[in-house]
């Protein structure tokens, strides 16, 4: 009897297929694109284009401990060690193609700066070095709570320009009907992804949050595709079953519910996981995977522009604090662990104030640690473990203080 297909197995199959299909397409002489992780994929999906995601690839390279030679290669070419490690890995890979998981070189690149402006500089260099076309969808930084009407008009005009450029690159016409189908499918997948993430609000949480980072890859690479819907359906079924049985992801239950704020430390992810497990900490949510919940009314381009513009990193201080406050409440968090990620300046440089704001608004315990998304040199295991222990102590202290406060409040005397 064949073994039952788990969502984890299906995810692995889909991810392997994603990379092998991209290579096969290149071999057949088809065009291949590289895109930033939250580029409006609706446009390339409509055109049926093969697209791979360098950020996803760099993370996979780093998780397989293959980052260092590429980082050193980039530095020898003049790239500063202070630059984003994903960018350094990718720019080196572009020259040497030396990685355990290969991806084909691009014929065109798609960039949206809703995560950071670093992406623009990185992609400019790819375009210049390979002499290939670059399509940019710029979403102006939201210094107000949401995009201005003028910003929406500008982004929509860029959508039109993106379609024109894609038609020119491929020699094919953009099909509006197919576009509508892709938007519907993308929304269904986003809703399912949100549902899967929200299921972790259950106590105990059914899924170890680190797994979310793995499933997230599918949302990055194929959120406009049917197979992603199938994967998420399976995942949701598994999670609902676990909740029904009251199962935690840890054998002895979860002692502490924590949000991981920022990108994973891919080169040290196994270590991080073990350290959490040892302390009984469950990472029940993260600010990162939720970025791929992109919901809008299919066909409404104003909403499409707005949703791609309002990715966490592209929003103002108040918006980010409101979002974190909601997460603390919805996920019943005991703590937040902030990753001071050496690579990701836009996440780091508002983080200290975010910590103060969230601490003032909620009773959540906060701790941070120094690390990097893909450069293994910018992380110290000892510091990480000490910080986790400290977080546990603060959480325990806050919990007992809260308990005694409740007792006092309930005291009829």
């Amino acid at each position: 009897m064949p073994e039952k297909l788990t969502s984890r197995n299906l995810l692995n199959q889909l991810q392997t297929r994603h990379y092998t299909n991209a290579y096969a397409a290149k071999m057949k002489g088809q065009l291949v694109g590289w895109a930033t992780s939250i580029f409006p994929q609706e446009f390339c999906e409509t055109m049926g284009l093969t697209v791979v995601y360098p950020e996803n690839h760099a993370a996979a390279v780093a998780a397989k401990r293959g980052a260092l030679p590429l980082l050193e290669q980039a530095e020898s070419e003049g790239y500063s060690v202070d630059l984003c490690s994903y960018a350094r890995i990718n720019l080196a890979y572009m020259k040497s193609q030396a990685a355990e998981i290969p991806i084909p070189l691009p014929d065109f690149i798609l960039c949206c700066n809703n995560i950071c402006n670093t992406l623009i500089k990185w992609y400019e260099n790819i375009a210049a070095e390979l002499n290939i076309p670059m399509i940019l969808i710029d979403v102006p930084y939201n210094h107000g709570y949401e995009p201005t009407p003028a910003a929406i008009d500008y982004i929509k005009s860029e959508f039109g320009e993106c379609i024109r450029q894609l038609e020119k690159i491929t020699g094919q016409q953009f099909n509006q009907e197919r576009f509508q189908e892709v938007m519907i499918l993308s929304n269904e997948n986003s809703r399912a992804w949100k549902r899967a993430l929200d299921l972790n609000q259950a106590v105990p949480a059914p899924l170890n949050g680190f797994e979310l980072f793995n499933y997230m890859s599918q949302m990055v690479c194929a959120r406009g595709r049917q197979e992603t819907g199938e994967l998420l359906k399976l995942l949701i079924e598994e999670l609902e079953e676990k909740i029904r049985l009251g199962k935690s992801c840890y054998e002895d239950g979860e002692k502490c519910r924590v949000m991981w704020d920022g990108i994973a430390c891919w080169p040290h992810i196994k270590h991080n996981f073990k350290a959490f497990e040892k302390n009984g900490i469950n990472i029940v949510c993260s600010s990162y995977p939720e970025a791929w919940v992109l919901l809008y009314e299919p066909g409404n381009l104003d909403e499409l522009a707005k949703v791609y513009s309002m990715i966490g990193n592209n929003t103002c201080m108040e918006y980010q604090a409101d979002k974190r406050e909601r997460e603390v409440k919805n996920f019943k968090l005991d703590g937040i662990l902030f990753h001071v990620n050496r690579s990701c300046k836009v996440m780091d440089f508002m983080q200290y104030e975010q910590q103060r704001l969230v601490a003032a608004r909620t009773d959540v315990s906060i701790m941070n640690f120094d690390g990097d998304q893909a450069d293994p040199r910018n992380f110290a295991a000892a510091q990480f473990e000490t910080r986790l222990e400290a977080l546990m102590e603060i959480v325990a202290h806050n919990k007992s203080a809260k308990k005694s406060k409740e007792v006092t409040n309930n005291d009829p005397a």
Partner: protein
Amino acid sequence: MTQLKDLLSVLENVANNPAQVINKCLEEKRLMIGCAPEYCPEEIVYAAGMLPVGLWGGSTSIKNANLYFPAFACSLVQTTLELGMRGVYDRLAGIIVPAHCDHLKCFGQDWKVAVPQVRFIPLAHPINRKLEAAVEYLKSEYFRIKSVLEEIGGKPISDQALSEAIEIYNDHRKTLREFTTIARDYCTTITPSLRHNVIKSGYFMDKLEHTQLVNSLIRELKKAPPEEWQGKKVILTGIMAEPNEILDMFEDYGLAVAADDLAQESRQFRTDVPQGKDPLEGLARYWSCMEGCSLLYDPQKNRRFMLKTMAEESRADGVVACIMKFCEMEEFDYPIYKKTLEEAKIPLLYLELDLVTPSLEQVRTRIQSFAEMISRKR
């Protein structure tokens, strides 16, 4: 000669002591608006009758700004926030902060909280700046800034005032272009440090007055024949060539500035604002016309060719990359133009600069070695 010395001394004094100018402004009851790096629509501030003041950080240690920034933020944002938190900018009626890079995006948001006494006026430029829709969008941003300034100043800003401000600024740009061209023929008198201060003083003065002074300086310089220069000439590229001490080091080792490609200097004045019926549209279109800066979207990386041409046309002996530590925008461009300059056999020096903890002796050694290397070349 005395006249020349006096003029240089006035401009140098302004560059080194902006507080004096600011005090004068306060006496005249003229409002001042801070303009954070790198590209602010100063013309709108000027048209409001206010004085735009350039805020480009300064050499200082960090005691407060580390509440907001980890150590790996660029020192331009760190020191500007530090000075703001110490109350140095309390006399300003507001500060315009463009969101050119990730550091500046966060700097603006942090400023709002850390320096609430100086009103934060945000600005987000469109990066896809060649599209017509970008002009429309930027015009809307400028319109909002204009409304804020009208509210602060308590009076409307007319189109006529805007057009006049654009004219005054374009005239200022033309004058500074002329100065930088002339300066390369008078390298003994116009040392790297003086050249920098002549330009920098413009950030703290009324542009009309600054234009007059620089024009007088040009006239005085021209009275003498071009000076023979025995040393070498270089091009400076990057955001800015500070801390000040490094320019003195150039002088110490016989290096003059042939031309610059610095955001604090020539990038501000090498292009004019297009004139037209709608002054705000002209200002917005200016952003689409500029080229060759790490903050301007450039998928062909034309900056590398501009630098090569600049080095050849100004007959410079080398290029110095003044890289503000942690400035990603410049750090990404560097490997690209490095390759182009190497192929053209133009010597290139990478200087990592930091306003917070400058390792000046290391910089000195690098400048000295570079000067020796290019001297041997001929």
